[in-house]
């Protein structure tokens, strides 16, 4: 299928590893991305708090750039995804907002009719359009022996976009299993990474980051796997600060799910952007190169001879 592609500022810059791995995976799965021409920033969470109407107009310019022959726009960044989704949704719901936004767009001879585009997240199209079976058929090097903590964050599952559960999503869990990895049960999978809090109230952010890293480590994860550049930035870049704040010494790499897909499809770690992370993912690659011996399945335990006999049904 052909999708319009909205990379967003993060994938253009600090999350280049996400961009290059997503594009590589899409190519292998025989899908096509058409990047929106001259797209602009979605305003992240900053513009909506300062002035909502310009914020909606800023996002709507991107929706108005959509080629007429395409129905779906895909955004890999959770923040871009929710802003595009929310703008389309609220313009459809509130006629006054719709009229105001279109009046502003008219200044550049643009317009947008709400409901004419479906806004999709990268994870959504991969698991629901391409599907687990098709993905599995491309797995050349299963991620055997790797223990991964699936981390969805907030914005792809909440408020409720309908493609996974807002409290306990499972699509990324299943995807990582399809790639051959061992998925740890990760209770904080949909918790908040702190968003822009490292800038505003660092201590609050550090405790949220610490919780996520510590929980993944306690569950024996080799890495956290994310779908969002903001979560990646907070957990990768501020992990040391969080360590210092709490007095811990974790070194928990965080990787994009598309990087893991690429590895499983047999692509090189270099092409998947490994090495760009601050908390090194080298141990993950080493473990993948020489997986630990599989533990021999212990034989079924025999009942103790001195034990009372099992009751029998008459």
């Amino acid at each position: 299928m052909r999708y319009a592609y909205f990379p967003g500022c993060s994938l253009d810059k600090n999350a280049a590893a996400y961009d290059q791995s997503f594009k590589a995976v899409i190519r292998i799965l025989a899908q096509e991305l058409v990047e929106l021409d001259d797209w602009n920033c979605c305003g992240a969470s900053e513009y909506f708090s300062l002035s909502p109407l310009p914020a909606y107009a800023l996002v709507a310019r991107n929706l108005a750039l959509m080629p007429t022959d395409l129905d779906d726009v895909v955004a890999p960044c959770s923040m871009c995804y929710i802003n595009l989704y929310k703008t389309d949704h609220n313009m459809g719901l509130y006629p006054q907002l719709n009229a105001d936004v279109n009046e502003a767009l008219a200044e550049a001879r643009m317009s947008y009719k709400p409901g004419s585009i479906r806004v999709r997240h990268a994870l959504d199209i991969l698991v629901n359009d391409v599907g687990y079976e098709a993905i599995q058929s491309h797995v050349k090097q299963p991620l055997k022996g790797l223990r991964l903590a699936p981390y969805y964050g907030c914005l792809i599952v909440r408020p409720d976009h309908g493609f996974d559960n807002p409290e306990y999503p499972m699509s990324l869990d299943r995807l990582l299993e399809t790639l051959g990895a061992t998925v740890v049960d990760f209770p904080l999978k949909a918790s908040c990474c702190g968003g822009h809090m490292p800038q505003i109230s660092p201590e609050s952010a550090y405790s949220l980051i610490h919780e996520i890293v510590a929980t993944a480590a306690n569950r024996g994860a080799d890495a956290i796997v994310t779908v969002c550049p903001m979560c990646h930035l907070n957990i990768d870049m501020y992990q040391n600060q969080a360590n210092r704040h709490v007095g811990t010494n974790y070194s928990m790499p965080i990787l994009y799910f598309t990087q893991m897909m690429g590895l499983a499809f047999g692509l090189s770690s270099e092409d998947m952007g490994f090495g760009q992370e601050l908390v090194s993912a080298e141990p993950v690659l080493r473990k993948l190169a020489s997986p630990p011996e599989e533990e021999a399945k212990s034989a079924r335990p025999r009942p103790d001879k001195r034990a009372l006999p099992m009751p029998r049904m008459p």
């Binding site: 909440r158 408020p159 090495g275 601050l278």
Partner: protein
């Protein structure tokens, strides 16, 4: 409810947010505060804020740090038994606090610095935002950020120059018009400007 600006109560100013019409359905159950990752840092939980809004305590609400600590995770929104879009109401309260010139400087300034770059270039420019914000507001913070910024630079994750979109002048025209309309709507809803 007492009338502060013209005939429009504080409650109605808050409820003017998309979905804000459901605010009157608040049951005071406290699920929002209990679900909030920033709850411990807030001087009032969202539930208390809603009670204060109902009681028309405008100054106390706008002085609160509650909405500035909102991380926009939407847990409260999906768990609210009355389906009040609490996160969007937090955005609305930030807006009203800025209009009334009552705000926590850091959060507002971070947002303004970020938005300023977006309005100029059409894209966000991390190095520019970080430098401008930390040097003017947190010089000590800038020292702490140094090693991390260096790590990002050496890994090619933080470009030194901003990207400017071709349609930047058109984008600015759109935003200028949107601000004009927003001012008009503020007059209609009685928001202090």
């Amino acid at each position: 409810m007492t009338q502060e600006t013209g005939t429009i109560s504080f409650y109605d100013q808050v409820a003017a947010a998309p979905g804000g019409e459901r605010l009157r359905l608040c049951l005071q159950c406290g699920t929002c505060g209990g679900s909030c990752p920033s709850g411990p840092d807030m001087d009032h939980t969202p539930r208390e804020i809603f009670a204060l809004i109902m009681a028309d305590k405008k100054a106390e609400v706008l002085r609160s740090n509650t909405f500035w600590y909102c991380v926009s995770c939407y847990y409260c929104t999906v768990r609210c038994p009355q389906q009040i879009p609490i996160t969007d109401i937090m955005y609305r309260l930030k807006y009203l606090a800025i209009a009334a010139k009552q705000y926590t400087a850091e959060a507002k300034d971070w947002s303004e610095t970020f938005v300023g770059q977006v309005e100029t270039y059409g894209r966000s420019f991390e190095l520019g935002v970080a430098t401008q914000y930390y040097l003017t507001h947190r010089p000590m913070g800038a020292l702490r950020m140094g090693p991390m910024a260096l790590g990002m630079l050496t890994r090619g994750r933080m470009p030194l120059r901003p990207t400017r979109i071709k349609g930047a002048p058109y984008l600015r025209a759109i935003l200028r018009k949107a601000k004009e309309i927003a001012q008009q709507r503020d007059l209609e809803t009685g928001v202090a400007v």
